[in-house]
């Protein structure tokens, strides 16, 4: 018997007796012989907790994590400090182990957390309604595309190349299903979305236009202008946003954006090699009944006591089935909890302080590196530069425990020698100066 099951021999006997079965195998008689496995599963035998702990520890030991090097990697997920109280609260069985709150009377904790989360996202994005989370940033972008299809019945989606490559990829993959085509609008020589090209790309068949703030290169986009150009012919304007810079950036909701989505990892979530984190989805009032995913709403109980429930479920698959506005069921509740706890930890002033620190360090880093910028304009949290000797820099830096950042060429052939450098509150001035001195060293070598 495994350490997770409890059937003693006495139990087995008593239970089979009550069932009226002779043996465990009798219970499987409905399974045709011909499809039975009839051999043990070909996997290593079970191990003790200690052995599994050590095996996983050994695997983890072969990964170089963000405390084991000075890393300027970003490109969609960022090394932020997660306060200890987030770990502690998420480890509580009360939050960790329940299912989706189908029984509100015994799920008020989880439901109120969703309500608070929705409020915080609404505050950040400047949009009145938000859901309780979707899978991640890119799938949130794809979900916005599906909503646009349901809403407009139009055939094409237009996206700026400043939108995260994974978001654009997910959009294409999903669009292939719900039958829409995706067009891309290039970036200007300054690494911002090309306003004219955008205006030109949008037409009567455009269901939605996708922007990102700051964009993938860290450029602070002129969101208002872009949204105006995008929304003209009735297309839904979708903006993917990084929630931390939103602490100091004008909210998309105040600039003509209809739907604001984004990746929530930066809000108190771990890097986890890419997941789980959460995606958020905020929109204008008119989209409320077309939103994907869970939404918590405030109400009262029979005694008039304040309480919360999952609401507007007629949007959802378990009620509406093929007519549902999305197929999502399990989403990212625990990660969203981390998000709202983290935002409450930062608080009204803390969010601004952190965003300003990031802003200043980003600009300091761009100057300190002294490399030709790809996006010379305003940037926050991330910026892109041309590096003459990119391979050489990586080679030396990695041996010295520094990770210079993300090579743009992987997703942007047009930036063959491009390096994307991310800065957070974890990267001190000393870290930045260290990268800068490596850059200069390579220049000397090259010269």
């Amino acid at each position: 018997m495994s350490r997770y099951t409890s059937v003693t021999d006495q139990d087995l006997e008593a239970m089979l007796g009550a069932i009226g079965a002779g043996s465990l195998d009798d219970l499987f008689e409905d399974i045709p012989e011909s499809v039975r496995l009839n051999r043990p599963i070909d996997l290593p035998a079970g191990r003790s907790e200690q052995e599994v702990n050590d095996h996983l520890g050994a695997l983890a030991g072969r990964n170089r994590h963000c405390d084991a090097e000075v890393s300027f990697l970003g490109a969609g997920m960022y090394d932020h400090y997660v306060p200890a109280l987030v770990d502690n609260l998420l480890s509580r069985s009360e939050f960790l182990t329940p299912y989706t709150p189908y029984q509100p009377e015994i799920s008020q904790g989880g439901l109120q957390v969703m309500f608070e989360f929705q409020t915080a996202i609404s505050e950040l994005t400047g949009l009145p309604v938000a859901n309780a989370s979707v899978y991640d940033g890119p799938s949130a972008v794809a979900a916005a595309g599906y909503l646009a299809k349901l809403e407009t019945r139009r055939g094409t989606l237009v996206t700026s190349r400043g939108v995260h490559p994974h978001s654009r990829a997910a959009l294409r993959t999903h669009a292939a299903g719900y039958g829409m085509t995706v067009e891309e609008v290039p970036l200007t020589a300054e690494g911002a979305t090309d306003l004219e090209a955008l205006a030109g790309a949008v037409g009567d068949d455009t269901a939605a236009v996708f922007l990102q703030q700051p964009n993938f290169l860290g450029t602070v986009e002129e969101l208002g202008e872009l949204a105006e150009a995008a929304g003209g012919s009735g297309a839904i304007v979708v903006c993917a946003a990084d929630p931390l810079p939103l602490g100091i950036l004008k909210p998309p909701g105040e600039q003509g954006v209809d739907i604001c989505v984004g990746e929530g990892q930066t809000l108190g979530n771990r890097l986890d090699f890419g997941g789980p984190s959460f995606g958020f989805f905020a929109a204008g009032e008119r989209f409320l009944r077309k939103m994907p995913g869970r939404i918590a709403g405030e109400t009262v109980d029979v005694d008039g006591k304040r309480g919360f429930v999952l609401t507007l479920q007629t949007r959802e698959q378990h009620i509406r089935r093929e007519k549902a506005t999305h197929n999502i069921c399990t989403s990212q509740a625990l990660n969203a909890l981390a998000g709202v706890v983290y935002l409450s930890w930062l608080g009204k002033r803390g969010l601004v302080e952190l965003a300003e620190l990031m802003l200043r360090r980003t600009h300091y880093a761009r100057e300190a590196l002294g490399l030709e910028p790809i996006n010379p304009g305003p940037v926050v949290r991330e910026f892109a530069v041309h590096v003459p000797d990119l391979d050489g820099l990586f080679e030396q830096a990695r041996t010295e425990g520094v990770n210079p950042g993300y090579r743009l060429a992987r997703d942007y052939p047009e930036y063959e020698d491009g390096l994307l450098v991310a800065v957070t509150e974890r990267r001190t001035r000393a870290d930045i100066d260290r990268l800068a001195s490596l850059v200069r060293e390579r220049e000397r070598v090259a010269a």
């Binding site: 008593a14 043990p40 329940p98 799938s139 969101l223 090699f273 997941g275 009620i319 999502i328 399990t330």
Partner: protein, 519 residues
């Protein structure tokens, strides 16, 4: 009286109402770079005019707020949770420990594979284990949950057919299917065609034959199905579907019934999704995270999402992004790696025999509880929907309780809350009147099953005397029955400060539900 009420002590106040201007839990690190004026760094046009109204609270009050909220949740470490179709099995604490190791939790998704060999090996091993369990050779871990796994499966089906120059338009789903199946069909651009259920609870073969033509792209099946019954005709079904050139999709939410006993691949399925948060014990977290990897046959493999984890000749592990026929990406990066860590640890702990034992005990527990609930005093009110040996779960009908006791399934469920057990899934599957869908899982000891049976008996006996007690239940929960209709009619989906301007530090104190009385 309210003083005697244990609920009086935790009034419902949102974190926003606890806010007081000037308080803080966060202190910023030393600013170590020049304090350049912001307007030099940000264009006026893109600067936020007023800060987002996030709460201002000290750390002690922040902790208390969420600890108090947590105590209003029923959870798996508290008691029995037989929520049908959700496989609420024990979540080993070891998994949280290994998932939290810096080498896992602090690893950047774009780390050069050379420096992420441990993570890639873990994914590679997990792919192998899932493939062996499903009986299908190729696995993609990318989908974020079951429903995204389903969508991936249908997008693969579409790519497969299109690659062969076919444009099929319909997908078959049984009327017992979970809601995500038809919802997925629509999202994938197909049209749903329902297949009926036979008297024995399986797929109605005649109806299936009739509806299966060469416009059908796929049949989505759950086996055992949502009635907890294994479809004895699975081979015929596979035959019909394959003869029509369609793919056969396995909704793996019920895999916990058959691990080591029978494999979807051997049953003829082309595509399988796993719910790692069910069968492989990722904690549900109140609604996620989860992961919905898929396993596929050779003919589907070329279309799998990118990247794929592969092992190269020298034994090192790589991410293969170069997959010309791939459907692309469903989401960012490599999927929910943190979930993979937990499920891989689970597989290591149990091993092959342990997984088989898990399924067998899950089925034993379900059949034992089914037998206990068939006893006199219970069975006549809650007859089993389809009286066969069940697999890991079974479905009762509340029809008789409704007719003879004027007791609805909802009332039974709500009354259970006062007994400290979580109700089963109710009103699903749809074809069973007043359905109660019960899945005990293998990690529950006999005593918990017996206790649950006694609770059901007690509720029915009580109702025989006075059904009102159950109709007005629950009584002992943090809140009682809530006005869901009202919530949907006038949706309040975010908190808003009362009249006073949000900046006013006193607003919370003035706000009705708040104030010091609310501590």
């Amino acid at each position: 009286m309210s003083d005697l009420d244990p609920r009086a002590r935790n009034e419902t106040v949102t974190i926003f109402e606890r806010s007081r201007a000037g308080r803080r839990a966060f202190v910023a690190p030393e600013p170590d770079v020049p304090e350049a004026p912001l307007d030099e760094l940000l264009p006026e046009s893109q600067r936020r005019e007023r800060p987002a109204e996030l709460p201002e609270v000290s750390e002690p009050e922040l902790v208390r707020h969420y600890v108090t909220l947590s105590s209003k949740n029923f959870h798996l470490d508290e008691g029995f949770y037989p929520l049908g179709s959700c496989t609420m099995k024990h979540n080993p604490k070891l998994h949280e420990r290994v998932a939290a190791l810096p080498g896992h939790a602090r690893l950047h998704p774009l780390q050069d594979p050379e420096y992420a060999q441990g993570a890639l090996e873990l994914m590679w091993r997990l792919q192998g284990a899932l493939g062996e369990i499903a009986g299908l050779p190729h696995v993609s871990l990318q989908p974020s949950a079951g429903s995204q796994g389903e969508l991936t499966g249908l997008l693969l089906t579409r790519a497969y057919h299109e690659d062969r120059g076919e444009r099929r338009t319909k997908v078959l789903t049984p009327d017992t299917a979970h809601g995500t199946n038809p919802a997925t069909v629509t999202m994938a651009g197909y049209q749903v065609v329902k297949v009926g259920t036979a008297p024995d609870g399986g797929v109605d073969l005649d109806d299936l034959r009739e509806k299966t033509d060469d416009d059908v792209a796929c049949l989505m099946l759950t086996n055992p199905n949502t009635l907890g019954l294994f479809d004895r005709n699975i081979e015929e079904i596979a035959g019909v579907v394959h003869d029509a050139g369609a793919t056969l999709y396995y909704d793996g939410a019920n895999l916990n019934a058959v691990m080591g006993v029978a494999r979807p691949g051997d049953m003829g399925f082309d595509i399988v999704h796993f719910n790692l948060h069910k069968t492989f014990t990722q904690p549900h977290g109140g609604g996620g995270p989860g992961a919905g990897p898929i396993a596929v046959s050779n003919r589907i493999e070329p279309f799998l999402p990118a990247p794929q984890v592969v092992r190269s000749g020298d034994g090192s592990f790589e991410l293969d992004h170069d997959r010309p026929k791939s459907i692309g990406k469903l989401r960012g990066f490599q999927g929910n790696f943190g979930v993979f860590v937990r499920s891989y640890a689970y597989i290591c702990s149990l091993g092959g025999d342990g997984l088989e034992e898990a399924s067998k005990v899950a089925v034993l527990n379900a059949n034992y509880l089914k037998a206990r609930l068939a006893e006199e005093g219970i069975g006549e009110y809650l007859p089993i929907a389809f009286d066969r040996t069940c697999m890991h779960e079974f479905v009762l009908s509340g029809s008789e309780a409704k007719r003879r006791l004027d007791l609805r399934t909802l009332d039974i469920a709500k009354r259970m809350l006062d007994h400290g057990v979580h109700p089963p899934t109710v009103y699903f599957p749809l074809l069973v009147e007043e359905a109660l869908m019960i899945e005990p899982t293998e990690t529950e000891p006999k005593e918990r099953l017996d206790h649950f049976a006694e609770v059901v008996r007690a509720i029915l006996e009580e109702a025989a005397e006075d059904p009102q007690i159950a109709k007005n239940a629950p009584y002992t929960t943090p809140v009682r029955r809530l006005d869901e209709a009202g919530a949907a009619k006038r949706p309040v989906v975010r908190w808003r400060p009362s009249q006073e301007n949000p900046g006013d530090p006193d607003r919370a104190r003035k706000a009705p539900a708040s104030g010091s009385g609310a501590m």
